[in-house]
Amino acid sequence: MKAICWFGKEDIRVEDVPDPEILNPRDAIVQVSRTAICGSDLHLYDGYIPTMERGDILGHEFVGTIVEVGQEVQNLSAGDRVVVPFPIACGRCHYCGDQSHALCDNSNPNAWMAEQAFGYSPAGIFGYSHLYGGYAGGQAEYVRVPFADVGPTIIPDGVTDEQALMLADVFPTGYQAADVAGFEPGSVVAVWGCGPVGLFAIKSAYLLGAHRVIAIDHLPERLDKARSQAGAEVLNFEEDPILDALRELTGGRGPDVCIEAVGMEAHGGGITDWYDKAKQTLRLESGRPHALRQAIMACGKGGTVVIPGVFGGLLDKIPMGAAFSKGLTFKMGQTHVHRYMDTLLDTVKNGDVDPAFIISHRVPLIEGPAAYRMFQHKTDNCLKVVMTT
């Protein structure tokens, strides 16, 4: 089959690889119909996630059709159209029992490695480094899905493959960011980053009762989308002094909730940006946490900082004094996609949100490498690439 494989920094190729096979009784094989490139795939593309190996198959956002199931999978059969959550979860451990599927105890074959890095191991993730399990990803014609009796969800009639594809990661990730923030009547939310996750965080914040949402980015087309399609007030960090503007817009209180939907490769401008870039290049720091620092500084007293953006290792100069003194709460982590799947499928089916609104490009799988390049440089207003197999 054809698959998009990682060979090194900015070196990905479409390769012919063997078809996947059932390896465990709870596996299934999915024939992929649509697969997307995630912003977090760019961290792999840019070489900032360690423990990738040459030849790894990428991709953790995919939908398709079941072609084969293992002997223990009773709830699915060949021909079922499914969307697959990006974290792999056993469904039976303590964390899965608490609906925290991204913290599953049993799905990372390299848990020992993650324990060396993080103390305890999170769930395995499709196509996202050996630290997260070394699973072959779904930017391919076929993919093996472990614990298929728990993860893949049948796509209801009336929901398209493209819409469902947004539920593999980006919609639930934005939704979780808003959900864990715990809004109160009148809550003002600021969102850093108007990529797919940021846009869904804005939409979800309104769905979950936020009073106002202010969105921050520097790409005009993304700000435009945040305003026209998600209903946010917008700030451009290249033009507006963000801290002053947020103070002004909130009557001097600051936002109650700050959502950092950017992650480890933020652009901020100024001297600290160069400092972080240099340290990140030398691997002395794992991220450029410019947006995170700003979110902490901007957050109002007693507020909550939510971090759906991906971070991997060590960060410098995080203003803990500000966080401590203002009594902030931090919420973060990979998304418990399984927890939100049914709710969001209903939201789409009812027509409350059409998640396909973020898709900017549709290309065949074999044009994947060029699409990665385009997405990396944000050329042609690239916001979300969907690949067809």
Binding site: M1, A3, C5, F7, R13, E15, V17, P18, D19, P20, E21, L23, N24, P25, R26, P50, T51, E53, R54, G55, D56, I57, E72, I88, C90, G91, R92, C93, H94, C96, G97, D98, Q99, D105, N106, S107, N108, P109, N110, A111, W112, M113, Q116, G124, H130, G133, G134, Y135, A136, A140, R144, P146, F147, L282, R283, L284, G313
Partner: protein, 261 residues
Amino acid sequence: MPRHPHTPMTLEGERALRRVPHEDEDPGLEVVRWGSILGGSALLAYGFLRRNRITDLLYMGAGAALAYRGISRSRLVDRSFKRLALHTGTTDSVEIAASLTIERPVDEIYSFWQDLDNLPIVLRHVDTVERMDERTSRWTVRLPTGVHLSWRAEIVDERQNELIAWQSVQGSDIYNEGFVSFRPVFDGEATELHVRILYRPPAGKVGARIASFLQSVQDLYVREDLRSFKQLMEAGEMPTTRGQPSARSHRQNGRMDQLMH
């Protein structure tokens, strides 16, 4: 927090456990600490080149610590250093400690361990445990060289759903004692499992066989063994990527994935 119902699966769990293959090779451990080695070395070099302010000394300290962590690859090597430092030629012992929590009731876990025949299924360094009579058993372990080493052990304490403790009988080639303790948590829905095993060579000169065995037993492996046990008890299978496709040569597993399995 919401809890979820379980279907009884003792038998499935046991059947699944019996499917676990024993590894023939002693896995190497060239672990992926290159990040901290590189970062640490760079910090060290940076601090050394400037060397004129207190912060630079801090850089050097932090760099050295990071690089050391990288090179030392966890507690494994720390332990070897400790062993080297304490080495007297006769009392070089290995103590293994591992704990984890399994989302199954305590009687299910206890009954598995109570049957000592099951031990080799979980602990990869143990080849067989044969029950001689009610309290005595014969343990055989496999050395990296393929040679076997055995001794007799006696149950010294056994408390239903709480503890099983054993000790080698006098005159064994190697002194071995250990216990497995069980503690119900989360209203009895889960069980904390604590394992301690001590191996000590007999007084006098340590033969090559025993020295080789002691070097091969590491608690990182025992922890992995327990993790596999937990995975089988909870999920009914061990997660794997062995045999999945990649653009490496046919069905070849990732280099890093082979380190522990």
